[in-house]
């Protein structure tokens, strides 16, 4: 019950945002062609579609970040207070030393996968690869669910389901990515702070590098786009039935929760969506 009220409180904010954004889009399209095209666009561009594109944008970048984080080598870099004159980066697969003066980069791959590796390294690899695959799959599946792509046009609700499934996939993909990168970062931090605590100086000290940050940013982006796809799509599932731009309905949206319940959760939302799809595919 509390989550429902929370969603209802959030709804006006989402609506104001999307209304302004789609108004901008409307005015752009208005410049292109006056008349019935504009009216059609007004019915075609409710917030739901905009949310799809926002989610798609985030999903693309977070999948890219996760893949980049997995295959780059700066998960650990040497801290400035160590004695080296070169930048030393350790990654999940190899470590590289770049000399600051002549720019020569020397890379060394870790031994074969069956050799002795710290458990942290192997598990982080596994987590990151899982996150890569899930995020890539979620993004590719989301492309099929986008409104501007014609896919299975005979079935009215398939797009909504595809978006939901890819949102859940992206949410799931966020977990291993976040766990992997945060765990690695924590390990580095604990190692360093325990060395400092015991007052031991081994000549080199590590901090976490930009690949680790990329991994964290990618998994947070996955969470964000997954949340947009699952929660906001659910909120907007019947807003897009064409009454969105009439002032009456806007006033209804801003009214307190009691009256909005009837509007948001009325049982015939299926037919509204179906109508909307029939209209959209027609245009």
């Amino acid at each position: 019950m509390t989550s429902q009220t929370l969603l209802l409180r959030l709804q006006p904010v989402c609506i104001v945002l999307t209304a302004t954004l789609s108004f901008v889009q409307l005015s752009i399209s208005d410049c292109k062609r006056k008349g019935n095209f504009t009216r059609l666009m007004a019915r075609r561009l409710p917030g739901r579609y905009l949310l799809q594109y926002v989610a798609c944008f985030f999903a693309f970048f977070s999948a890219g970040f996760l893949i980049a984080a997995t295959w780059t080598d700066c998960w650990m870099v040497n801290a400035d207070d160590s004695l080296e004159v070169s930048t030393k980066c350790r990654g999940l697969w190899w470590e590289c030393v770049t000399n600051v003066f002549d720019g020569i980069q020397t890379c060394d791959e870790y031994d074969s996968i069956f050799a002795e590796h710290p458990l942290k390294l192997v598990l982080t690899r596994a987590m990151m690869i899982t996150a890569d695959i899930l995020a890539g799959f979620g993004f590719a599946f989301l492309l099929l669910g986008l409104d501007c792509v014609k896919f299975l046009t005979d079935e009215p609700t398939i797009k909504l389901r595809i978006c939901l499934v890819s949102g859940v996939t992206l949410l799931i993909a966020g977990f291993p990515g976040l766990i992997g990168s945060v765990w690695y970062a924590l390990g580095v931090y604990v190692e360093r702070s325990s060395l400092v605590f015991h007052n031991v100086f081994l000549g080199i000290q590590y901090k976490f590098g930009w690949s680790c940050w990329l991994g964290m940013a990618g998994s947070l982006g996955c969470f964000l786009s997954g949340a947009v796809l699952t929660c906001c799509m659910y909120l907007f599932r019947d807003v897009g039935s064409g009454r969105f731009y009439s002032p009456n309905s806007l006033r209804k949206m801003y009214s307190p929760a009691g009256t909005t319940v009837a509007n948001t959760y009325y049982p015939s939302s299926q037919t509204a969506t179906a109508k909307m799809y029939a209209m959209d595919t027609r245009v």
Partner: protein, 225 residues
């Protein structure tokens, strides 16, 4: 007009080719040291790419260094770099443009003729990108061959084709194949006339009754298979 399946096939071929182009431009193995002739086993294998030259030790370490100055490089290296970058940019624009033009998207759906032309433009961009990659890779390969058979080159400093060259050839052919598939969607004159007619007819009816079921419209069925 070409059907949507052919367009999709062409798009994905070209997309794969574009990714291959990026890979081949980034890889450092454009030429690698050759062991042809008397097989001297050395502890160091050298290879060189567009951006860096590397030495791989027998202990498994790889040392790389970026090329020093842009101006002191060979002409063929500079040209290959420029062509590869142009090709990647062209491919990027092509990826975006042909999404707009393909039949499986709804953007600009009310005017199929223009849509077909946009798809063709995307295909032409891919074709140019593929040609750029092909030129760059083949030029570099010619230079490597020339140096290999040059009698003045010492025997143990000879280079042969690296893996990036082969990736580049494959990418160029994929991009060009996909681009030519996409270019097939150029509308013919008769279709243009018919398209304009049905555009004129269908426009008012769409405005009047937007809630008509999709399956009842014959135009719709014809447009998207």
């Amino acid at each position: 007009m070409a059907n949507a399946g052919l367009q999709l096939l062409g798009y994905f071929l070209a997309l794969g080719g574009w990714v291959g182009t990026i890979c081949s431009a980034a890889l450092p193995q454009w030429k690698q040291s050759s062991y042809a002739g008397d097989a001297i086993i050395t502890a160091v294998g050298l290879y060189e790419g567009l951006w860096m030259s590397c030495a791989s030790q027998s202990t498994g370490q790889v040392q790389c260094k970026l090329h020093d100055s842009l101006l002191s490089l060979d002409v063929h290296l500079q040209t290959s770099r420029a062509l590869m970058v142009v090709s990647i940019l062209m491919g990027f624009v092509g990826v975006i443009v042909s999404v707009v033009g393909m039949k499986c998207t709804k953007v600009g759906d009310e005017n199929p003729v223009v849509k077909g032309r946009i798809a063709m433009a995307g295909g032409v961009l891919f074709l140019i990108a593929g040609l750029c990659t092909l030129t760059a890779v083949s030029w570099y390969a010619t230079q490597v061959t020339y140096e290999f058979f040059n009698p003045n080159t010492p025997v143990n400093a000879r280079y042969e084709f690296g893996s990036a060259l082969f990736v580049g050839w494959a990418a160029a052919s994929l991009t060009m194949l996909g681009g030519s598939f996409l270019s097939c969607s150029c509308p013919t004159p008769t279709e243009e006339r018919r398209g304009q007619q049905h555009y004129r007819q269908s426009q008012p009816s769409t405005a009047r009754e937007p809630n008509v079921k999709m399956s009842s419209s014959p135009i719709r069925g014809e447009q998207c298979l």
